[in-house]
Amino acid sequence: MAEGAVSPELARVTSRWAVEGGHTIDGYRASGSYAGYESIRAALDLSPDQVSGMVKDATVLGRGGAGFPAGVKWGFCPPGVWPRYLVVNGDESEPGTYKDRILMERDPHQLIEGCLIAAYAIGAAQVFLYVRGEMAHAQERIAAALNEAYAAGLVGKNILGTDFSVDIVLHWGAGAYIVGEETALIESLEGNRGMPRLKPPFFPAAKGLYMAPTFVNNVETQANLPWLVAHGVDAYRSVGTEASPGTRLIALSGHVNTPGVFEVPQGTTTFRELFEAEHYGGGIRDGHELKMFIPGGASAPWFFPEQVDLPLEGRVVGGEGSMLGSGAVVVMDETTDAVRACLRVVRFFARESCGKCAPCREGTTWEEKILQRILDGHGRPSDIDLLLDVADNISPGPYPTAAHPGAGLEAVPFPPRQTTICPLGPSSVAPITSAIRRFRHEFEAKITKRDSIPVAAAPAQGDH
């Protein structure tokens, strides 16, 4: 696997990935792009409002999927209401996403220091690190790091001899994708089934864990804070774009020669560079050609060769009909069967639906059944429209999709509408509308032809 940043200047959260022993407290202090545990020391000399101000001024965007600015999220907390809790979302499960696990395994102290900085700024009574259950190694690394940090007086009572005190508790998940949704995560942390809560309130900053104001931030978001405090707002904003400053981690998988997790400047790298550059993907595998790609995890509508020159910038990708989501880019070459790929992604949502909202619980199941029978050769001519109809009940259209210039179709911008509490159900529609809009002929051939047609690249001309 290729990995990390192209140059040391760009290595903000990945600076210890290749360092032997970088996961220990001594390694954390002695290596990397800033001095470990000096940032919390510096933050403690500032007021909590000044630290919050830095996060807001730097525009630290949330790295979990929605891309919402963390500083603004912190501002939704009602003033004077205590306690407040900080919950770090390490339940990374979006298919294709593979960055928080590496951050937790290789640089757990960076995450802990990020938590301390955030807890100080927002006045958290306690921090919970919610780590996905299947990530045994990440849990071991974080547990060991927390034990070291407690022993060193960096976590717990009177941190660094000041009046700042906070406990950080490692919490194990137990296998449920939906728990990545922040209100479901809070339910899970309360010891319940991980089902999203009814909105409003839209943000747990108003009412969250134990109905107290709660900030739920992604692992990568927290991991950026020590670097930010060490180097300042201007340095943070020196790479990336005005709206999306800084770097972010992109997991590139699928049909490229050198898949990997890369730290790239936000907004300035294009998908083409990501796929083709030697220091990133190294080209579509073995001379094959690009058929389609998922730009931001399984929940994102698909992109096609026409979109490769777009930058990895949340707003641009959103306007073009998809999302950058959790930074997971999945590349599919012309050997990929669009129906089979579509079914696999839909099956994921059908399996992971928590069952709370009927349109999702029933709809994702029907989507899977219909796609399975099409793939098995038992499809009916009406199945394509039936699929779109079921999908429309979960997410009333028009559903976000990429432009298809060959067919004269324009992009429908993100996000989708929803008849459900959370975006899981609507996400299941992404592969369906993406695949049918572009590869309807592959679906039709599986339904009507005796011999299936060869799988092929995206046609330049529309087949609508």
Partner: protein
Amino acid sequence: MARLTPANEQLARSIVARYPVPKSATIPLCHLAQEQDGHLTDDAMAHIAELVGCTAAEVLGTASFYEMFKRHETGTYCVNVCTNISCQLLGGEELLEHAERTLGVRAGGTTADGMFTLEDVECIAACTEAPALQVNYRYFHRISTEDFDQLVDDLRSGRLSDEVPPHGTLGKVRQEIPADKVANITPPEEQTEPVWIARHRQAAEGGAS
């Protein structure tokens, strides 16, 4: 069918003490019980209910939501083959088929000797290492059919017993919070404005007046 052993009950109480509200410890305690017995038994759930202050039905209600809790006996090794999109693109489904043939069970089944339970799982966050699988939540990357057969041999012969603990053992390292280092774990209703926040607020108010 077993309740938690005295040693594990003590450990369980220390885990409960880490949460402002005891019921939050439900999932960690289910993991502890599964580590003890290999799966989650009814007696253990009843014991957990006593420890976190709810009913056994509520513990079951929570546990049954989560994929990792097994309420029946599993093999010593849970072999979880990922077939989600990134792995599918590079042969995850074919790897699962091969695993089914090699082990002689369908996904979800356990071999007659009680050694292996095979599962078809969702994304395990090793997408750049496809096709990937986990054995008792330990990773194995870029697995060919030959690699798979070798892995099965190694597990059967015990050559991997250091790297792969029996099913149920999650982290070999546990978090421990020394009693004298605990900052402030009390129920939410007993919490007030943190001292450092109050100090800065008072300083700002003092400066303003």
